[in-house]
Amino acid sequence: MNLTAVASIYRFEMARFFRTMAQSIVSPVLSTSLYFVVFGTAIGSRIESVEGHSYGAFIVPGLIMLSVMTQATSNASFGIYFPKFIGTIYELLSAPVNFLEITLGYVGAAATKALFIGVIILITAFFFVDISIAHPFWMLGFLVLTCISFSLLGFIIGIWAGNFEQLQLIPLLIITPLVFLGGSFYSITMLPPVWQTITMFNPVVYLISGFRWAFLDTADVPVGLSLLAIALFTGACLTAIWWIFRTGWRIRQ
């Protein structure tokens, strides 16, 4: 294991994040504040409660997940796409590193950035609503796992993408709808029965449900199922990445 290489990639990627530190923080804080103003205060004041919790508190886990998933995906996809785009990928390909080390470096950095933003949003949320975290350990666990798994997904997208449009395509067309329809802003039980069934095919439902359980101690699906879903998703992404590096798909000629 070339741990020095992993650390080098990680540091190099984190440097990119710190160079644009202000943007990295300001944008999620601003958008979260807007969500709280619009949904928590303006609309939320008309909603009595969701499953016994104030609407403002109810949407906190969903909001964090929304940002973390999109940030993890875009950070990781950009992280590996950019070297491909500017040509510096030659160095990775000719270095004594294997796929696991490259993935660890890039995905580790992307996941760290997403985690960082998730925590900032959580802190921002404290200024708007009363939040209690029922299971802090599990909360952190779900957060970290989501950061990692969506960074893995982003990494795959970054390798697949042939241009900047494609880089935006998957997050825009798939991830955003899945997250919005995954119960970020509502409980699954609020949907008509048919849609409740359809929603069960959305993997994001399990992640948000598990994360919300860690906060509010109420969940749409059993926690065990949430954990299984995130494990399966992570496993699928890892398998895809292993295959990509083994075959050199889109990387090695």
Binding site: N2, A5, S8, F12, A15, I86, Y90, S94, P96
Partner: protein
């Protein structure tokens, strides 16, 4: 001398049926400077990229320091430094961070003193904290070299290192190459500039259409294929070679005031002495004379033309 890079029956074919490399065999000796010459699209970069692990070969084997590039890729690649043809650098990063990154990527522990040394050698030290995007093209190329040297490679591949580089920088680079050779680094460079191969290489290979047409010691090559010419300047213009001198196969120079005699330096007798005697006998007054040897360029152009 033992070979440090060994390429056997290396072939690279693409899905389209295009064969970029056709069963290439090549032994690179430790400590030598090998220049690979060839026209555009000859397969020079494909060959280098395959040895470095960027391109997966269709068949054949490559070992570096005895390590197979497929099964022992870590050991093999750790020995190699690559300076690519294109200027591929992260524009927003500083020189020093970019070079440190390369060293770390190759698994070497951080060593700022060593990196400073490289930057000084490449006249980059003043720019170490500059962002790469602010550097000139020539400086960026030096950064690429610094990155390749940062992890102390034993074999250095320079893919057209002086393409689009001004004369001064080119000479600087030759100096760096000479210093590296003195330090025991094996250097393989591809180039379009024949004068570059002539100036710094120990051995010269010519590649065309995915095949190595020739691989020879530079000096041997030049003596073997090189012909020498003796140019004799005359006092007055002549229109015909005098009959007495016909057997020498002389040519008349463009201005009509010189005679050109082509001879083989390998021959036992060059025929110069008798020619000069015969010139005198023919009553030709000589004002000056010089000899010239055909350059590598003449040899190269001749070779590539032959196979075209």
């Amino acid at each position: 001398m033992s070979s440090i890079v060994s390429v056997r029956n290396l072939r690279k074919a693409y899905g389209t049926g295009f064969e970029a490399l056709k069963s290439v065999n090549l032994e690179i000796e430790e400590g030598e400077i090998l220049a690979l010459l060839g026209p555009n699209g000859a397969g020079k970069t494909t060959l280098i990229s395959t040895i470095c692990g960027i391109i997966v070969p269709t068949s054949g084997t490559v070992t570096v320091g005895g390590h197979d590039i497929g099964t022992n890729f870590r050991e093999a690649r750790a020995m190699i430094g690559l300076v690519p043809q294109e200027i591929n650098l992260e524009p927003f990063e500083t020189v020093i961070n970019s070079v440190r990154f390369s060293r770390g990527l190759f698994g070497k522990p951080r060593n700022d003193a060593f990196i400073d040394e490289i930057l000084k050698q490449l006249s980059l030290f003043d720019k170490k904290n500059s962002k790469i995007m602010t550097l000139s093209g020539g400086m960026k190329r030096r950064v690429l070299i610094a990155k390749a040297l940062s992890h102390e490679p034993r074999v250095l591949f320079l893919d057209e290192p002086t393409a689009g580089v001004d004369v001064e920088l080119r000479k600087d680079m030759w100096k760096v190459v000479a210093e590296l050779k003195a330090a025991g680094v094996t250097i393989i460079l591809t180039t379009h500039y024949i004068e570059e191969a002539e100036a710094i290489a120990d051995r010269v290979g010519v590649i065309s259409k995915g095949e190595i047409l020739l691989m020879q010691d530079k000096a041997d090559l030049m003596t073997q294929m090189g012909k020498k010419q003796l140019v004799v300047d005359l006092q007055s213009i002549i229109t015909d070679v005098p009959a007495a001198l016909k057997s020498y196969g002389l040519e008349i120079g463009q201005d009509g005031k010189s005679l050109i005699y082509t001879y083989d330096t390998k021959g036992e007798r060059t025929g110069i002495t008798t020619l000069l005697n015969d010139l005198q006998k023919a009553g030709l007054q000589m004002t000056d004379m010089k000899t010239q040897q055909s350059s590598l360029e003449d040899i190269f152009v001749g070779l590539v033309k032959e196979t075209a």
